[in-house]
C-alpha cells in the first residue's frame, strides 16, 4: 500500500526514480531541475539508493553517460531544463537512434536570451522531433506516476526508446502537493529489472552505433519511426495495467467537462489546473466550455485528439512556446495539422501565454474564451495567433 503524503514535486520524482531502482544517474545542475538531482545525490550518499551517481561536467556528458550506461545494460536516468536540454540536443537524437531506454525529467524552462530561469515549454518544443516519447505532467501525482511508467515504457522490448517526462519549472517542480507514494513491493511488481535488448557484453561482442550509408539510413529511420508510432499501443497497455494496480487512470488526451462543450481550451502541463477553475466558473455562468490537455505529445495521439474535439465549434489552443515567424505555438500547429483533412473540423484559435514564467491567470482564460468566441462569430478568421497578457 502507498502512503498519502504532502511532498515537493521534485522530491516525488526522485522518490519515483529510487522506487524504480535506477542504476546509473548522470546529471548536471540547472535551475529548476536542481531539487531532483540534489535529492537523488542525498539518497545515494545516505545509502537509501544503491546507484552510481555521476556528477558530470555538462548536460552533453550527462546524456552521453546515460547512453553509455544504458548500452551497458543499466537503468539510466537524468534530469535537466532549458539550456541544459539544448546542450543535449545532439545526444537526444542518438539516444533514440540507438534505441536506448534512457529516462529523463525536464523541469520545463524558457530558453535564453534574455536569460530566464522561469517556466515555459520552449525547451522541450525544440526537441519535438528528436524521437523521444514525450509526456506532460499536470500534477505531482502525474509526475511521480509518469516517472515510474516511463521506465516501464522505455524498456519494453517492443518500444526500446527513451522517454522524457515534462514538468513545469517552479509552478510544478517546486510546489508541495498531496500525493500517493507507492510501496517498493508494488513498484517492483509493476516494474521488473531492466532486461536489455542489446548490451555491451564481451561474451557476445556487438558493434553499436556504426556508420549508416545512404543504402540503409532511410530504412533504419523508418524502423525507428514505426517503433515510436507503435509505442502508442504499448503505452495504453501499460497505463491500463497501472490503473488496475494503482487505481489511477492515464489517457493520451485528458478531457474535463467536455460533454456538450462548444468551445474547448487546449493546454499541456500544470496550467491545466488554472484552466479547470476557469472552466468551472464559465460553466456556472452557463457557458459551454471544456478543457482538453495533451499528456502524450510524442507519439502524437491523432485519433484521441480527433475524438476529443469532435462536434465542438472551436478550440482555443494555448501554447507556452512561441514558434518564431511561424504559426505561433507548436501544439496549436500540430492540432491544426491533425484536423486539416477532416470534413468537419472545429475552428482553431491559437494563443501564446505564460512565456518565461509569466503567470497564466483565470482572467487570461476568460479572455482566451472571449476572443475565441468573437473570432468564431466573425467567421473564424483573424490572425494566426494572439499573445495573451502582453503589457503594451
Amino acid at each position: 500500500m502507498g502512503i498519502r503524503t504532502g511532498m515537493e514535486v521534485s522530491i516525488a520524482i526522485s522518490e519515483a526514480v529510487k522506487l524504480s531502482r535506477a542504476e546509473v544517474i548522470a546529471a548536471y545542475p540547472i535551475t529548476p531541475q536542481t531539487h531532483i538531482v540534489e535529492e537523488l545525490a542525498r539518497m545515494v550518499a545516505d545509502g537509501e539508493l544503491d546507484a552510481k551517481f555521476i556528477m558530470v561536467e555538462s548536460e552533453h556528458s550527462a546524456m552521453s553517460a546515460c547512453i553509455g550506461a544504458a548500452a551497458a545494460g543499466a537503468r539510466s536516468f537524468t534530469a535537466t531544463a532549458a539550456q541544459g536540454l539544448a546542450l543535449m540536443h545532439e545526444m537526444l537524437y542518438i539516444a533514440s537512434g540507438l534505441r536506448l531506454p534512457v529516462v529523463m525529467a525536464v523541469a520545463n524552462r524558457a530558453m535564453s536570451a534574455p536569460l530566464s530561469i522561469w517556466g515555459d515549454h520552449s525547451d522541450i518544443m525544440a526537441e519535438r522531433d528528436s524521437g523521444w516519447i514525450q509526456l506532460f505532467a499536470e500534477t505531482g501525482q502525474d509526475a511521480f506516476d509518469l516517472t515510474i511508467q516511463a521506465f516501464r515504457i522505455a524498456e519494453d522490448e517492443r518500444v526500446s526508446l527513451p522517454v522524457v517526462v515534462n514538468i513545469d519549472g517552479f509552478t510544478l517542480s517546486h510546489v508541495i502537493e498531496p500525493l500517493e507514494i507507492e510501496s517498493q513491493e508494488d513498484v517492483d511488481r509493476f516494474l521488473p529489472p531492466f532486461k536489455p535488448v542489446i548490451q555491451l557484453d564481451p561474451d557476445k561482442p556487438i558493434s553499436i552505433g556504426p556508420v549508416g550509408f545512404p543504402e540503409i539510413y532511410t530504412e533504419i529511420k523508418k524502423q525507428q519511426n514505426v517503433a515510436l508510432v507503435e509505442s502508442y499501443k504499448v503505452i495504453r497497455e501499460i497505463w491500463n495495467e497501472f490503473r488496475d494496480m494503482f487505481g489511477r487512470e492515464y489517457h493520451p488526451v485528458e478531457s474535463y467537462r467536455t460533454e456538450d462543450a462548444e468551445i474547448l481550451i487546449h493546454i499541456a502541463g500544470s496550467t491545466a489546473g488554472t484552466a479547470r477553475i476557469a472552466v468551472d466558473m464559465l460553466r456556472e455562468k452557463g457557458e459551454k466550455v471544456g478543457l482538453i490537455r495533451t499528456r502524450l505529445w510524442r507519439p502524437y495521439p491523432f485519433e484521441d485528439m480527433k475524438k476529443a474535439v469532435a462536434g465542438v465549434k472551436a478550440v482555443a489552443a494555448v501554447d507556452r512556446c512561441l514558434s518564431f515567424g511561424g504559426q505561433g505555438g507548436p501544439m496549436c500547429s500540430e492540432l491544426k495539422s491533425a484536423m486539416y483533412n477532416l470534413e468537419e473540423k472545429p475552428f482553431i484559435a491559437g494563443f501564446i501565454a505564460g512565456l518565461g514564467g509569466r503567470d497564466i491567470t483565470i482572467e487570461d482564460f476568460f479572455t482566451i474564451v472571449k476572443e475565441t468566441k468573437k473570432m468564431l462569430e466573425e467567421g473564424g478568421g483573424g490572425e494566426e495567433y494572439r499573445m495573451i497578457g502582453v503589457r503594451e
Binding site: 546509473v24 556528477m55 552521453s64 553517460a65 550506461a69 548500452a71 539510466s76 564481451p202 557476445k204
Partner: protein
Amino acid sequence: MPQEKQHPGFIPRLISPRELFAEGNRGCQGCGEALAIRQILKAAGPDTIVCSATGCVEIISSPYPETAWRVPWIHVAFENAAAVASGVEAAIKILKKRGRYHDRKINIIALAGDGGTADIGLQALSGAFERRHDFTYICTDNEAYMNTGIQRSSATPYGASTTTSPAGKESIGQTTPKKDMPMIAAAHDIPYVATCCPSYPMDLLAKAAKAFNTEGPSYLHVLSPCPTGWRHESHLTVEIGRLAVETGVFPLYEIIEGRLKMNVVMEKRKPVKEYLKHQGRFRHLGPDEIEEIQRIVDEKYVRLLRRAEFDRSLER
C-alpha cells in the same frame, strides 16, 4: 561478428595471436591508427569494451553491416568518448554489484583522434579524469582532422600545411605549436600517462597493459603516422614513427603516479629534418623554419630529460 583469423607468426609466446581488430577494415594503406589499435587490442584481450569517438577509426571500422571489432564496441558522437566510457564504467560497476554482469575485470577504453581529444572532446575528457573513472583513454594522434580531409587541429605541429592551415605566400602553414595533450592529461594527477607509437610495438604493448592494469583513469597518447594527411609514402609509416622518436619530435615517456620516466633516451638525436623530409606537409619549409622547429624540439626534449632526472631524484 567477423570471422576471426589468427596469425601464429606474430611472436606467439610474447603477444596474443588473436586479432581483435579485424583485417580488411577500410583504413588507408599504411594507416598508423589501424596498426596501433591492432596492437592495443592484443594487450587488452577480449574482455574489453571500446567507446569510440567519431573520426577515422570509427569510419573505417564500422561501415554497417560490417564491423572490424571483435570486442563490444560503441560509437556515440565526436566529443564525448570519455563521457560515454564514464557511463559504461559506472553501469558495469553497479551491475556487477547487483550480480547482473560478468564478475571479471573488463577493460574500458575511450578511443579518439587528436581532434576528438585535444579540441572538441577535451571537456568530456577532463571531466572523466577528474571523476576518477576506471578507464583508459587512448588518443590516436595523426595531427589533423584526417577523416574530413586534413584540416588543422590543435595537435597539428608548427609548420605543417593542412587544408585549413595551408602554406602560402603569407603563411608557413600551422603557425602555433602542438598542444601538449599528454601533459594536460597528467595535470589531472591521474595514476598513469604514457606516450607511445606503433613503430615501437613492444613499448606500446607494455604501456597498454600497464594502463589497463591501472586502477583509475589512464591515458595513452599514440602518435599515428598518416600517409594520406602527412603526405608520405605508405610503406614508410613505421619508419616515420621511428624517426619521430629518434629525432625527439615525439619522445616516448610515461608518468606513473606523477613521476616522469623517459623510455627511449637517444644518446644522439637525429636532426629533425630527417623526420620532416619524408613528409609533404613540411615540404614548403625553408632552413630558417626547420631551424625553428629544431629549437622547439630541443627545448622540449631537454625539459623532459630534466624533469625525468628530477622525478628520479625524488625516489631516492
